[in-house]
């Protein structure tokens, strides 16, 4: 548990340090400090993962030694440890890009990314609905500030994002208040055995779900996401799509799989699963039509979250806890792949001087490495073997196919695959166009292009540790 706390504390302290230092440090030094601290946090998270895996059960910690019920309670499960590693790894990969690529990034990015990292780590470890609210709020505010880093043209999407994020937090907080009034308890584990399917609980859960779905941009509450993610600086888009939207999803999962009474969970399950299928199709179709590269990638996030939502919905419908393996494999695979997609898209945009999909004609010749990164990462979104996306899809398909009554749900996976293939290969096909090549605007930044490829290679490498990941997420000693 100490390692987990360390993994959470390092980025927070680093962020505070950077705030206090003000303008004293140069941007490069700042970046270097953040990357070193991210590595430290990653190592700590790795040890926490070992600890959680060895324990085979959740490890609880009451901060400050207060007794349960009063104290801030943290929970380290093998899932939260894995998410700690994932968060640190994503920050490292994207931090390396932000620090080493030629375009660089504003100084404020570094402190903000530290806070983002810290608040996400706190979110994975919290086991209390109110603490989760705090982390959610921190996460939202940091994310809004990061979108605004892109300058005046991003202010409008950032402001919209802020308003929606605050509204969503209010919904959530209202639900929390209702639950507290009803049960006098907010600790997830204490609340879980007591909840009943009465009107107040229903209302509270409904409010919280709306807020969380809005924050996670789950269909049909996703409309704010494409403009916000597409207008942010490249590294920020990668963080937002790869990590930030997963935070509220985690809370949604905790809420419905642990807090809510099973009868209610079974009622909402199919609704969520169908929303997921619609997200896959509708998000994918929007991505297919999108004229801009980054908007396409952002819509693909909406679509891919549909898989996660579908996994969550089916988990609740069938009350199959092991379905959460599919859910979190999707989250991790999507995070890594999406990081690559956004970094590659950003690099191609700046090298080719265009934001439009048409501008990618001949990109396999002009920006081969970035285009390759895009295609490789896209392969994981489609779910081609042996990528991480395939792993997740496989785990999702298993319970669907094992029971003939569940087969209709396989259509969702089928549709999702085909639609993702359509929008990814829309880009790939254009990039092979040799008839009217769009020439380079500036010399491509080789380092940036290769760094964009790195997360994509990792998501394909996930397959090699597939069995280990699945056993880890299944709980029990590894």
């Amino acid at each position: 548990m100490n390692f987990a706390l360390l993994s959470l504390a390092i980025p927070l302290f680093c962020g505070l340090l950077l705030l206090l230092s003000g303008r004293a440090l140069r941007t490069r030094t700042t970046g270097f400090i953040v990357i070193v601290s991210t590595v430290a946090s990653l190592v700590a998270a790795w040890f926490a993962l070992q600890e959680a895996a060895a324990a085979g059960a959740d490890i609880m910690l009451n901060l400050g030694g207060w007794e349960t019920g009063l104290a801030i309670r943290l929970r380290l499960s093998s899932l939260s440890a894995l998410l700690l590693v994932f968060t640190a790894l994503m920050h490292l990969l994207i931090g390396l890009y932000a620090g080493l690529s030629r375009d660089g990034i504003k100084r404020d990015y570094w402190a903000l990314s530290c806070f983002l990292h810290g608040s996400l780590a706190a979110l994975w470890l919290s086991a209390d609905l109110f603490n989760l609210y705090i982390t959610l709020e921190l996460l939202g505010l940091t994310a809004v500030a990061m979108v605004a880093l892109a300058g005046p043209k991003a202010y409008k999407p950032a402001a919209n994002y802020l308003i929606l994020s605050l509204a969503a937090s209010l919904f959530y907080l209202l639900g929390v208040a209702l639950l507290y009034g009803r049960y006098g308890e907010l600790d997830v584990l204490l609340l879980a055995p007591r909840t009943q399917a009465d009107v107040i609980t229903r209302l509270a859960l409904l409010l919280m779900t709306t807020g969380l779905m809005l924050k996670a941009a789950l269909w049909p509450l996703h409309l704010w996401l494409p403009p916000a993610h597409a207008s942010a600086p490249t590294a920020v888009s990668a963080l937002l799509s790869g990590l930030v939207v997963k935070g509220p999803l985690f809370i949604l999962w905790v809420l419905w799989s642990e807090v809510a009474p099973p009868t209610l969970a079974q009622q909402i399950g199919p609704v969520l699963a169908i929303a997921g299928m619609i997200a896959l199709t509708a998000g994918g179709l929007s991505a297919m039509r999108s004229p801009h590269i980054k908007t396409l990638v952002a819509y693909s996030t909406v679509a891919q979250l549909g898989y996660a939502l579908m996994a969550l919905g089916l988990l609740l419908t069938w009350q199959l806890p092991q379905m959460h393996i599919a859910l979190w494999l999707f989250v991790i695979a999507h995070g890594l792949a999406k990081a690559s997609l956004f970094l590659a898209a950003g690099e191609m945009q700046s090298s080719l001087g265009t934001k439009r999909v048409d501008g990618l004609r001949g990109a396999t010749q002009t920006v081969p490495v970035a285009m390759f990164a895009f295609a490789v990462a896209g392969g994981s979104l489609i779910g081609l073997p042996p990528s991480g996306g395939f792993l997740a899809k496989w785990v999702l398909l298993e319970p669907i196919l094992s029971e003939p009554g569940n087969w209709p749900w396989a259509m969702g996976v089928l549709l999702g695959t085909l639609v993702s293939a359509a929008y990814i290969f829309r880009i790939v096909a254009i990039s092979f166009d040799r008839a009217q090549i769009n020439p380079l605007d500036i010399n491509p930044d080789r380092v940036g292009h290769w760094l964009a490829l790195l997360p994509a290679l990792m998501v394909w490498g996930m397959a090699l540790s597939g069995e280990w990941l699945i056993r880890l997420l299944a709980g029990g000693p590894v």
Binding site: P385, L397, L418, L464
Partner: protein, 502 residues
């Protein structure tokens, strides 16, 4: 896991083309020599390794490499007799096609990219052959799609891109359906290694419906690449690719991967017993028969040489499916041997069609008049390929048809003889006019469109001429020496003895 040469050999065979491929990507465009050396080293090493494995398997060695992947489904590479049939074919033809492609693409742009994907494509094909279970098969099957797409759109023209999109729509769609089938099968029986006789016989009663659906899904998924009607639409379109790519797609990699998959599913997953129990063979046989006849008729309607050859591929590859679905040992020999025979003959035809186009700018059948006088060697090789397709002894195609026909009689499926006879007549109808024009008509009075390599000692570039001559010669040799154990026929017999437990 102990590492010995028998575990490593399957991996090395894949790496022998994968590593040169990756190095070629990093080779500067101008370094043509380095690229050729990389290509040739890869091919040579691969051929040696395949020869080693061939010797090992015929002495009864087991080659198996496995690593963990999914729970209950490892990644398995295994060299068995059936795998070797396909690997030996693809390695030999890879050598020929590489020589041909070097000559064909001389001085054209983007060669590093081309040869890089070319090598990846062969690695994926060999992976399909070596796959030891359905999951591994799926993995390489999809990688093959990805590796061939850049080759199909290599020219980068609007037509090439359109063909590429069609190709992807078909193959990725097929891959998804195949995944569904494999996942469904996995939920019933897990994913053990391929085993002669299959592993589903004991489940056939209990899960009849699910197994039938899984079979249907897998055949649809594999049928896309094997170009079974009505899933063949991508193949004639993909003709816009450069000639060596068409040759590779048609004779070795893509269509064969589909056909090979069907062989694996019927023999080593379901097994003959379960396929018969579930009455799956009859529909498959009808599908194959319809494809054979329909595609031959379509071929007759084409005026473009390459498109006619494309429809001929659709028709000929279905001989394999037909032979498999007859579930008799003799027909099975015919099917498995046709995998190799069709490859040798079809690649000869495509090489020659490429030579006509490159040398004289000939694309249409009407333009072939008098071709034999200007390009006698290419025309001779083309003739061998075409006659072989029709089934004239002693060329390879005759052996396949003979075994398919006697195999059909053995299992009392006399209607198949009608299909074979009809198809042979149609083959003759769409190939003989080409031969007639080439040999017996006078060359056009106004001369040829283009006339490259005129007045030189050879009728065209030696690298374009050598491969079709070698493959034409091979098509005759495998027919003449069919009786030897190391001929494709002898080897097919060896495979079938194991599959049918004879």
């Amino acid at each position: 896991m102990t590492l010995s040469w028998t575990t490593l050999l399957p991996v090395l065979i894949i790496l022998s083309s994968l590593i040169p491929g990756l190095l070629i990507f990093a080779t500067p465009e101008a370094a043509a020599r380095r690229r050729i050396i990389l290509n040739m080293t890869g091919v040579t090493v691969k051929l040696l390794l395949v020869a080693l494995m061939l010797a090992g398997v015929s002495r009864g060695f087991e080659f198996r490499f496995a690593i963990a992947f999914l729970p209950g489904a490892e990644l398995v590479l295994r060299g068995d007799a059936l795998a070797l049939q396909f690997i030996a074919l693809s390695s030999v033809l890879w050598l020929m096609t590489t020589i041909y492609a070097i000559g064909y693409l001389e001085n054209s742009p983007l060669r590093s990219r081309f040869f890089g994907y070319f090598s990846l494509c062969v690695s994926a094909t060999v992976g399909v052959a070596l796959a030891g279970n359905m999951i591994t098969f799926l993995l390489f099957y999809e990688l093959l799609t990805l590796a061939t797409f850049p080759l199909v759109v290599h020219r980068g023209t609007p037509e090439a891109l359109r063909a590429g999109r069609v190709y992807l729509a078909y193959t990725l769609g097929g891959g998804t359906v195949l995944l569904m089938g494999i996942a469904l099968l996995h939920s019933i029986a897990g994913t053990p290694d391929f085993v002669p006789g299959g592993y589903l016989t004991s489940l056939a009663d209990e899960h009849a419906l699910s197994l039938r659906i899984a079979f249907g899904l897998m055949i649809v998924g594999l049928g896309v690449k094997a170009a079974l009607v009505p899933l063949h639409g991508w193949l004639p379109q993909a003709m816009v690719a450069p000639a060596p790519v068409s040759a590779l797609l048609h004779a070795v990699a893509v269509v064969k991967a589909g056909a090979f998959g069907i062989i694996r599913v019927v023999y080593d997953v379901y097994g003959i017993e379960a396929t018969t129990l579930l009455s799956l063979t009859r529909p498959l046989a009808w599908l194959a028969a319809v494809t054979i006849i329909f595609a031959s008729v379509r071929a007759l309607q084409q005026q473009d040489i390459k498109r006619r050859l494309a429809y001929s591929t659709v028709s000929q590859v279905s001989y394999i499916t037909l032979g498999v679905s007859l579930v008799g040992p003799i027909a099975a020999v015919g099917a498995i041997v046709h995998l190799v025979h069709q490859g040798l003959m079809k690649i000869t035809l495509f090489f020659c069609a490429g030579n006509f186009a490159e040398t004289l700018g000939i694309h249409k059948i009407q333009e072939m008049d008098g071709l034999g006088r200007r390009m006698p060697w290419s025309m001779a090789a083309f003739t061998v390929g075409a006659l072989g397709m029709i089934g004239v002894p002693p060329i390879a195609g005759f052996i396949s048809k003979w075994y398919l026909a006697t195999g059909a009689l053995e299992v009392n499926q006399d209607w198949v003889l009608l299909v074979l006879a009809g198809s042979s007549l149609l083959n003759a109808a769409y190939f003989l006019p080409l031969l007639y024009r080439g040999w017996f008509r006078a060359p056009p009075a106004g001369g040829w469109h283009e006339n490259n390599f005129a007045g030189q000692r050879l009728e065209t570039h030696w690298m374009l001429l050598l491969p079709p001559l070698v493959t034409a010669l091979l098509s005759i040799l495998v027919g003449v020496f069919a009786g030897s154990i190391f001929s494709p026929l002898g080897w097919s017999q060896f495979i079938v003895n194991r599959e049918f437990g004879l």
